[in-house]
Symmetry: C2
Subunit: 384 residues, 2 copies
């Protein structure tokens, strides 16, 4: 075995999430201010004495702070990006101190719709403000302050996570050494927004949604959230990958002439939808889709993305996946083009893939090689 190859069997092992209280007031884009908030955080690897080796991992729509390792011995599934984070993996925890958090508005312990509003003693529910990617960057910067991290060696994220990376580099140029933007887009297209809007309508129109106050009714808008997730999955897989994986396979080998599951792809979608309902909060889902739709860093710069990037100081790695049609390589190339126009240093990798948008979570050798090699150079640069 080549020592350079990432070893999939290596894990950060058992990890314990922490809840960090951020005391400082947080002004939000919507005009409201949160007097304080809490963030669920996990860290992997040691912070070096110079505090120069910290890496921030930003999660995507349905992610959380649990990016790597296990919460308990014998657990079947590790964190959502365990394939990339660990000793000897592309985000090498022998060299980096990796920080992963559940974003503000999330549903896994950070202050969000399903937590208590201190002002009322009730759950926030629909009273939780709609947050933006910029708000997350502000919140994450307060977290960095609390952790004593002045400058990130790298901020890394895929999909909505990649949008946070770009916003970090633009809003806090001095605090980001390297920006790793994976499977992202400079902003949502009309089609992207359309998918989100249908997901939102599915949730909002579910009678069990109760205007977002479903907690008090002891129900969840499971039908709507399930539909939203099923719809999401269509955009996470390529047409080709769906064909390879499910084709027109029939679960019973024949048509049943009813509306029960017949094709394997139906079974897959219903299962994914059901599993999601059990682990995710509908109000948070709504917030996440809005954060996606609002993301548009060029907007404050006269719709000139290059002008936005010109204020950044980071060096960039942009990675796109050929089979991704949610945020196709073309969208990543828009980012690269603007970075080049802005005179920023950027490496671009277009990875051969076939799964689709979900490829950013997969340990594709070419992808992990690009990411690992880039971060190895970052590690040398920061002396870790």
């Amino acid at each position: 075995m080549n020592a350079d190859e990432p070893r999939a069997d290596l894990s950060v092992g058992l990890v314990v999430p922490r809840k960090l209280a951020i005391g400082a007031a947080l002004p939000l884009d919507c005009g409201r201010t949160l007097p304080g908030h809490e963030l669920m955080v996990e860290t992997y690897g040691e912070l070096n004495g110079a505090r120069s080796n910290a890496v921030l991992v930003c999660h995507a729509l349905s992610g959380d702070h649990h990016a790597a390792g296990y919460h308990a011995a014998g657990e079947r599934k590790p964190g959502w990006w365990d394939s990339a984070i660990g000793p000897g993996k592309p985000i090498d925890t022998r060299r980096f101190h990796v920080v992963s958090l559940n974003n503000l508005g999330g549903c896994r312990g950070s202050t969000g719709p399903n937590t208590v509003n201190p002002a009322t003693g009730e759950l926030f529910g629909p009273d939780f403000p709609i947050v933006t990617v910029r708000d997350w960057v502000r919140s994450q910067a307060l977290l960095a302050d609390a952790l004593g991290i002045e400058r990130w060696a790298a901020v890394i994220g895929g999909s909505l996570g990649g949008m946070q990376v770009m916003q970090w580099a633009i809003d806090l140029p001095q605090r980001v050494r390297h920006a790793v933007v994976i499977a992202a887009a400079p902003r949502m297209s009309a089609q992207n927004i359309a998918f989100n809007e249908i997901a939102r309508q599915a949730i909002l129109s579910d009678p069990d949604f109760h205007g977002g106050r479903y907690y008090a009714h002891r129900v969840v808008p499971s039908r709507g959230l399930k539909l939203a997730r099923m719809l999401g999955h269509i955009t996470y897989l390529s047409d080709e990958a769906m064909r390879e994986r499910f084709g027109r396979l029939l679960r019973d080998g024949q048509f049943n002439f009813n509306f029960d599951v017949e094709f394997e792809v139906e079974s897959y979608l219903r299962h994914q939808g059901q599993v999601f309902v059990e682990r995710f909060d509908a109000n948070t889902y709504l917030l996440m889709t809005k954060a996606l739709d609002y993301f548009d860093p060029a907007r404050e710069f006269g719709d000139d993305l290059a002008a936005a990037f010109r204020v950044s100081r980071a060096r960039y790695l942009v990675i796109a996946f050929e089979a991704d049609w949610r945020f196709a390589p073309q969208r990543s190339r828009e980012i690269v083009k603007a970075l080049v126009a802005a005179g920023r240093e950027v490496s671009y990798a277009q990875v051969h893939s076939h799964l689709g948008h979900d490829d950013f979570l997969m340990p594709l050798p070419q992808y992990h090689k690009v990411l690992g090699n880039y971060l190895a150079r970052v590690a040398e640069e920061v002396g870790t």
Copy 2:
């Protein structure tokens, strides 16, 4: 003006739909038999003495018998394919006798879920059998018998309509002289099925669906049907067309930080969904999506599409649209390839377009030229 150009201002004028009773028993693919059924029909242009100039137009998912002309003076909107059917138009009613029907299971007057089951005196509702494209061809053949049409000069349809065209040519080879297959596919892909399944789940999980017996409750599953239609619209438009049409335009010019309509594309989708709820029946929508999913003429021929086409005798025109991602040109080329392998005569046109799947309903000059020229030769051939 060039006399060869279709004239958009020419219409078949006022038309009166007829309800035709089909007395013969209709055995269905699901194993059940309908003792008789009724079909709503419109015809445009005169049947010639030799009865050789009849053209059957098959409708798509949400279509009906009203393909051309107007039902009343002063009506704003003509039939759904008025751009292509009329005097001097590609399907020229000065030469052809055009027959258009609402398919069995439809909701515009033909026997379907929202009509009375003679056996019970109640509306069929969910007791209406799931019908297939093959069933429609059988039903349409009985209609042809009733109309005294032994052989169609051409059977023409787009999308799900194009699937009926292929099934006609395969199941009743002697009765189809020309088969015009527009914006279709030889069968649904896993992704196509996935979209349909989410639309079905939206309807089936709507509390107002009442297991399909919503008529008795004097409600309609409007939330589910609206979502289904919104989802459909995503697949009818190309990403590029959505970008050109809506981009990221904000209705109020600013973010409102709530879940009301903000982006123009949201407004468009909600409107399309609402309008559809007012004109379409949810049980029929379910049936139509199943007919799409089940369509697979190669299935009875060992999954060999060429073998299926080998039994047909028609000559074919296959038309695809470059911007169509629902049934992309690649899918039409699969049809063409199988036809060539089967030794059938086929013309193929890939039309430059940008709207998407909906292009098949648009009067694109290149498209109408191809269609009109082809049918002009058919007219000469049948002596009309």
